[in-house]
């Protein structure tokens, strides 16, 4: 890469401004961010996921997730035929380092990235005894780790298995939709690194967000719809075998 001194003199302040924006000192992040202007979700495109595990690695690095626990993970499905007995799923270390090649090439196989669904009617926030986990005014289900007792009721109540107890903080933890990033105009770490665009942050309150058009033109589902959780992680091309 070649950078002339002249270019550097011009670019450094620009980068500095961008970085200042990123580092914005107010606890609320950018002073232009109003929680009531947003209602966050995520679009996951099964037809595009290649199971590279970049999202899992990036999430771990961005959010300091301890080994053996997962704020997001990727599952590989192998469906040999109709029927429960013909479904095989694996997720080696959450898919963090990709997946070993399958010897058997029978049936169809695909990857399903999973994360907190940031449910609008979330069963996990319903059961928290003290209000340590809650849905923010902009639709992100968060955990207040200074208030959490570590009773683990929320972990039991989540139908999707996306919560865990952080062994270091002894509090419940899960995907925060990179709240510290999205409130500053950035996208989540997992979406940032996804090479195929299988993961895309969606702002349901923003009329210009491509999610609205996408939802109107594709077959989209949520996980476990019978539980009526109001899940906001929308899956395109989700097979009926996916649990």
């Amino acid at each position: 890469m070649s950078i002339t001194r002249r270019k550097l003199l011009v670019l450094m302040p620009a980068a500095a401004v961008a970085w200042e924006y990123v580092l914005a000192d107010q606890p609320e992040g950018s002073p232009n961010y109003k929680t009531t202007d947003h209602w966050w979700g995520m679009l996951l495109d099964i037809t595009k996921c290649i199971g590279c595990g970049s999202c899992v690695r990036a999430c771990q690095l961005e959010n300091h997730v301890p080994d053996g626990y997962y704020r997001t993970w990727v599952e590989r499905y192998v469906v040999r035929d109709w029927g429960f007995g013909n479904i095989g799923v694996d997720s080696p270390d959450g898919g963090k380092n990709g997946f070993p090649v399958l010897a058997d090439k029978e049936g169809k196989s695909f990857f399903v990235p999973k994360l907190c669904n940031h449910c609008a009617d979330s069963p996990c926030t319903q059961v928290c005894p003290v209000g340590a986990t809650f849905i923010s005014p902009d639709g992100v289900v968060l955990v207040d780790k200074k208030y959490c007792l570590g009773c683990r009721y929320c972990i039991q109540a989540c139908p999707y298995g996306c919560r865990f107890l952080n062994p270091e903080t002894q509090t419940a933890e899960k995907c925060s939709l990179c709240y510290h990033r999205i409130t500053k105009g950035l996208t989540t770490a997992c979406c940032e690194v996804c090479p195929t665009g299988a993961r895309q942050l969606a702002d349901l309150k923003d009329p210009a967000d491509p999610v609205h058009e996408f939802l109107k033109t594709h077959s989209v589902q949520v996980l476990k719809p019978h539980l009526a959780t109001g899940a906001k992680a929308f899956y395109n091309g989700l097979d009926g075998s996916v649990r």
Binding site: Y69, Y70, W73, E75, F84, I87, G88, V89, D90, S91, D93, G94, K114, P123, Q126, V127, C128, P129, V130, G131, A132, Y147, C148, L149, G150, C151, R152, Y153, I155, Q156, A157, C158, P159, Y160, G161, C162, R163, F164, L165, T169, Q170, T171, A172, L227, R243
Partner: protein, 397 residues
């Protein structure tokens, strides 16, 4: 990895340990012991009177210990008071904190105090030094034990017991609801859960008081009131039949409807949960005690044989009800919510949430009960200065 099939990566490790199994077991004993006490007080089943005070003290001993397994389980026990400061009204767990406090303070402690007040005053007058101080505190400075005041006590005590019955139902029904309301877990989620928990609590409480009465009587060299113990055993049988019917109803309903989860749960019960569910809970812990108790009702057996059968049935019952709690709590975490896999429970021994801790916490209430029995003797004849508590009751209407 110690799991079979597929589990969501965060599901492999169990969240709720043997301490969370112990907790409903202990609160169940409280509720059951109290219901037995109320049999005499409210439903006037006079035959069980000899167990009245013992049942109350048993309830208190277990209720004092009940929060300990919870505190030891929490990631931040020092924050547990938050449940009282900012309780989340939609959370059964938060509301339970108040039910517990209400039951402990407004029902159990008040009822024990009212019943024992005369004895406390007399003991205060007959002891010296630290003991005198302790009893004086318990009197709240009031030494009026006239017949009129005792009549007031009895009236209020009757009212407290009356309120106490639904409170006891609430105490343990809530625990059942904590599990029964979790739609994410099909092993737990059923409207029958609070009812099953409550009836199994009553069974365990009655069995526990029956056993303790027989054991303590033996230790104190007192004769066991046969009519009392026969009546308690009969109530144990009736409650057990209801409990068993409810559990069978749940099972039959599951098998019949065979929803999405059934395949996975059925497999779990036949494999990882077989010993604790079928062998210990159902056969040894329910069918055998019901059969033994049934035999005592149908055949004419002599008193000693009956007492032996009650002791065996009671012990098996307690084991069976503990197994039931185990099967609900641990069983509910052994299968994956994807219905595609199973994990194992690795219970430590000398660990914060290990088996040793559970054993200590189970024995601790017995130690506390011992202290309570010495402090507030359920058999006042032991202390010559104290008159039998039954007298004032007979004066009331």
């Amino acid at each position: 990895m110690n799991f079979d099939g597929f589990m969501y990566p965060n599901e492999v490790e169990l969240q709720w340990s043997v301490l969370i199994v112990l907790y409903p077991f202990l609160t169940g004993l409280v509720a059951g012991a109290f219901i037995l006490a109320s049999l005499e007080r409210v439903f006037l089943v006079e035959a069980v009177k000899p167990t009245y005070r013992l049942a109350l003290l048993t309830a208190l001993a277990f209720l004092i210990v009940a929060p300990l397994p919870l505190q030891l389980h929490l990631g931040h026990p020092e924050r547990s008071f938050e449940m009282y400061l900012t309780p989340h009204r939609s959370s059964a767990m938060a509301m339970f904190g108040f039910v517990y406090l209400w039951y402990l303070m407004a029902v159990l402690v008040v009822e024990i105090w009212l019943d024992y007040r005369k004895d406390i005053v007399l003991m205060m007058q007959s002891f010296k030094g630290l003991k005198k101080c302790m009893y004086w505190t318990m009197t709240l400075g009031s030494t009026n034990i006239s017949n009129e005041s005792r009549r007031v006590d009895n009236r209020v005590g009757w009212l407290i017991t009356l309120i106490g019955i639904p409170s006891a139902f609430l105490l343990h029904g809530y625990v059942g609801f904590i599990f029964g309301s979790v739609k994410a877990n099909p092993w737990w989620s059923t409207p029958l859960m609070p009812v099953v928990f409550l009836f199994s609590a009553m069974v365990s409480g009655i069995a526990a008081v029956m056993l303790l009465y027989m054991i303590l009587s033996k230790i104190h060299g007192r004769e066991i009131d046969q009519r009392c113990v026969d009546t308690v055993a009969r109530y144990l049988l009736y409650t057990f039949l209801i409990d068993f019917s409810l559990e069978m109803l749940d099972l039959i309903h599951r098998i019949y409807e065979a929803d999405e989860s059934f395949r996975s749960l059925d497999f779990m019960v036949h494999t990882r949960l077989y010993t604790s569910q079928v062998v210990i809970q159902i056969v040894a812990g329910t069918v055998v005690p019901i059969a033994l108790l049934g035999i005592t009702q149908v055949l004419r057996l002599n008193a000693n044989v009956r007492k032996r059968l009650y002791a065996i049935a009671g012990s098996l019952t307690l084991i069976g009800i503990f197994a039931m709690r185990w099967n609900v709590v641990i069983g509910g975490q052994l299968f994956s919510k994807s219905f595609l896999g199973y994990t194992t429970y690795k219970m430590g021994f000398v660990a914060r949430e290990g088996l040793l801790t559970a054993i200590v916490l189970t024995l601790l209430p017995l130690v506390i009960l011992w202290v309570l029995v010495n402090l507030l003797p359920p058999w006042p004849e032991k202390n010559a200065a104290v008159v039998s508590p039954s007298t004032p009751r007979q004066l009331a209407d």
